[in-house]
Symmetry: C2
Subunit: 574 residues, 2 copies
């Protein structure tokens, strides 16, 4: 493509209402154009990226045995009434009436339609399994559309639905899709993680989310760089430290810590690491099974944070104690409370606390802490030791294969075992080998195609603009000729290079405008083209082109005869 025949339209500044970097850069690069809130036109530059994402998804879905079809955007209300979602879906469902006053929806998803197709088309176990997918426009009437295509109202989605005669077979296809999604996001050139919706292991769970890793992501994730483990931080299990509890070495002492309340303040005051601190959180616990109701303490290491969900799972219902309840029970305000010298107050400890010795905690006296505290010697072992906290970087990975790191992610894919929910609601059944009618098992598998583009930019950008993976960049290579219009030599060399690269199957943009090189450089960097070749008279005289990768610090001179091979090698390596 030549810029003179293409439509580039970049902006120096992003509109002020663009909150996130991908939205800002997509507007500045001229990839999208706002039509209404959460509704965008994909301009030629953006559409090229979108189509490349689509193509990779299609190739991998087809390769995995899924079959493409195309369902309508406008769907009759009857199907949604049958599934019960006409009432349940809420205002995100855009509804309308046709000229005959019949109700329709603009499809936000297609479980109803595909189940209707399958219940009419598939009658026998012999026709199962079957997996249909489509790449199709959806509409969800978000209350506050924002972040550009990351949370738009009209968006492009790959949605697939598989139907099975048994749960075993659904699980087989689920794993197939897990692998397929892994291949898709790998080919897209994105750093990503598959995250189990519950425990973090693939076996037996009903749902995985695929997250593109980016600092701006809405979800906090824990993952292990040495294994496939990944989970939402809130759900990742914090294992007990592998080392056991050391023997007591220090004496128990009461020290004044005037005005120091938080663990960080106390640790700084005492000049010890905060990991030597134990904090006590006072709760009002309703331990019915234990015949107890009243104040209790949860102990955490000083640098850890309570995970309420895990705590509720482990000990049942509780609420945080009020200051007056704490003072009444322990005789001092929060900030100085601790587990030593208390009676009839249950103590729960996080696994990390249970292995500590010579630690520091509140003395249950205002302005004082205890140092050199040890279980057994100074206080009894906790009533219960469990996982009460969020994982932190450096924790052992729950799969035992390395250390956890933290990151943020953007959900771009989701695979889900629906089981027979829709099949039962819509009476989608088949005759099994024994002639018995049974409901089908069903899985669904989505990728937010438009969102992938936004997420790729959240992951890949710098001060100068977008850094696209080569697989989805609008063009793989740009040729920037200096004085294309004025220099016959430059024009001839640029045209020849353009022809050579295009012939080799490389997606090239030749910037044949009469612009200053600085303007062209800035624009090519803004729109995220991975490889740039400068054609100038000085280089030509020496038989060289000047190459610069999008993220390279310096350009390099390469012999004209070697440039094609050089680019092909770079593109293959990407």
């Amino acid at each position: 493509m030549r810029t003179s025949r293409f439509f580039l339209s970049t902006l120096k500044e992003a509109p002020s209402d663009a909150e996130v970097i991908s939205h800002q850069l997509m507007l500045r690069a001229g990839m999208i154009k706002r039509l209404a809130g959460g509704i965008y036109t994909w301009m030629p530059l953006g559409l090229r990226v979108l189509r490349k994402v689509e193509k990779i998804i299609r190739e991998e879905m087809n390769g995995a045995g899924a079959i493409e079809l195309s369902m309508p955007a406008v769907q009759p209300a009857e199907l949604w009434q049958e599934s019960g979602r006409w009432e349940k879906y809420g205002p995100e469902l855009l509804r309308c009436k046709d000229r005959h006053q019949r109700d329709f929806v603009i499809g936000p998803t297609h479980e109803e339609v595909i189940t209707d197709v399958v219940r009419k088309e598939v009658k026998s176990y012999r026709q199962l399994p079957v997996h249909f997918y489509q790449v199709q426009v959806k509409f969800r009437d978000e209350i506050r559309p924002r972040f550009g295509v990351m949370r738009g109202r009209e968006f492009l989605m790959k949605d697939g639905y598989s139907f099975h005669s048994s749960f075993d077979d659904l699980q087989r296809e689920y794993r197939n899709m897990f692998d397929t999604y892994t291949r898709i996001f790998t080919r897209l050139g994105l750093k990503f993680r598959a995250v189990a919706a519950d425990t973090g292991s693939i076996g037996g769970t009903g749902s995985h989310e695929f997250h593109v890793l980016a600092d701006s992501g809405e979800d906090a994730l824990a993952y292990c760089p040495d294994s496939d483990f990944a989970a939402n931080v809130e759900l990742a299990e914090a294992l007990a430290p592998s080392e056991g509890r050391a023997a007591a070495a220090a004496d128990l002492q009461k020290v004044a810590t005037p005005g120091r309340i938080t663990c960080e303040e106390v640790a700084a005051f005492l000049d010890i690491p905060v990991t030597r601190m134990v904090k006590a959180i006072a709760i009002v616990w309703n331990g019915k099974a234990e015949g107890f109701a009243g104040l209790a303490l949860i102990l955490l290491r000083g640098d850890h944070h309570l995970n309420e969900l895990k705590a509720q799972k482990t000990i049942g219902e509780f609420r945080f104690a009020r200051d007056d309840e704490i003072i009444a029970a322990l005789g001092c305000p929060p900030g100085y409370i601790g587990p030593v010298g208390i009676a009839n107050i249950p103590v729960f400890a996080d696994r990390s606390v249970a292995v500590m010795s010579d630690f520091v905690c509140g003395a249950n006296a205002k302005g004082f802490h205890l140092v050199g505290v040890n279980f057994v010697r100074d206080l009894v072992d906790p009533m219960l030791v469990g996982d009460f906290r969020d994982v932190v970087a450096g924790d052992r990975s729950p799969d035992g294969r390395g250390r956890i790191e933290l990151c943020r992610g953007i959900e771009v894919g989701h695979i889900f075992q629906l089981r027979s929910k829709y099949a039962e609601a819509l009476k989608c059944s088949f005759l099994d080998e024994c002639g018995q009618s049974r409901f089908m098992e069903m899985g669904c598998y989505g990728i937010g195609v438009t969102r992938v583009v936004g997420a790729a930019i959240e992951q890949g950008h710098d001060q100068r603009g977008i850094i696209f993976p080569a697989a989805i960049a609008p063009f793989q290579v740009c040729i920037v000729p200096m004085a294309y219009a004025k220099s016959d030599a430059v024009r001839a060399a640029a045209d020849a290079l353009y022809a050579e690269l295009t012939h080799a199957g490389i997606d090239v943009l030749l910037d044949d405008r009469d612009e200053r090189p600085g303007v062209m450089f800035a624009e090519m960097e803004l729109i995220g083209i991975p490889h740039r070749v400068l054609v100038g008279e000085r280089g030509l005289a020496a038989g060289k082109f000047e190459y610069k990768g999008r993220i390279d610090a310096e350009s390099q001179l390469l012999p004209m005869t070697e440039i094609r091979q050089f680019l092909q090698d770079r593109l293959c390596a990407a």
Copy 2:
């Protein structure tokens, strides 16, 4: 593709509500599945055809310099209010309100949206011309959707919009699109005609329709096989016969024609060709300019039909005379009226009549006609000679390059010079070379992508099913093995052939099901695969495959080593 990994689902009988053959065959072949009136799911088989049509359209549009983008389906009402179509469009426009009670439409077309994009993006003549197109889902709430995808409510359309700084440049692009559409429909393998919306010549007119020729088409067309001329029958000009009026040779005679009223009856009774007859049509003419109001006659050759539109254009307003008005003026009932011996009654004659001599017409006496009638000798020349009739097969083509033939067509494309209608309504202007602000000139260019598929089937089918052009067939070649599951030799040969053809870039379906050959043959013919190769043990023993083209009467045995080249030759020739 192997049938075992694909989803074929054919029907023996079409549902009774399918009125036209393409609808019946698309349902029977399992190409589409009805979701609601005029709303269809494109099943995998149908989608393959649709995608091939799309691909050809895209390649030609890109090649012609148009740039693809993608506009939203859901559009804000404000733009439609700005263009005035919010009120004018009527109930075909599907309207809805979002959760904030703002009005939206599900786009039936995109003039408003693209004009909004362009008015924001294009400011200078330097950015013009520009031509954007998309392949996008549209919705038109037809009052009576029918004929399957031929007149659906949700459908896929290629819509392009070009913007120009001058009318000259719009006309240049219009011709470019005329040529591009011609290439597209040629590559699609369809018999088609470009039909001018008015006079039938490309120069200077504002609109052309592209029709796929099919007996079932809704539009009657006149075309010239020896030139590009084509027009709606109602609009095609009927030229004067090239031969002049012969001298009178017969005497005028009054003959009894009892009970014979129509030209056909009289001609049969007199044993003469109906082309020797002249029929007179009595009208009440309001010839204001001529100071006349009252009965008048229009004369047509016996085999011709009045074209009211042309007649109104030529002589102005009129209505058909009532029987009592005819009897009062001419003294006889219709069926026996004629132009001889009448006074003060204006006579208009079609060009074909004006050159006749020795003709037969009504005698203005019940039960009698005149034979051997001649202008000048027996009656004065007509007051006005003009084009009053529909063209018929054999007429001279208006471009003077051959004879007209008649056919029926299905409109699948439309190109249109919109001029500045939308640009003015939406204030889409640019600064010209002199810094003056001017409205852009605009063209629009549509192809009904889903409709093309239906039209192709209307044009290509027989008793056994669909006959697709190879360019858009769901598969180009099918391999039908006899006893694939049971015969190792057949399976090995079929698999090897499948691999060889696929490797050669041929789109092959290998029917690896355990079905009887008759069932497989019928299904492959129903779904319209152009080329079939049968692999059987008997043929293999002789080193042969059995080939049959979809429209061949007989199959032929071909050496196994030659089949690939044979198929490639056939596919290239198509």
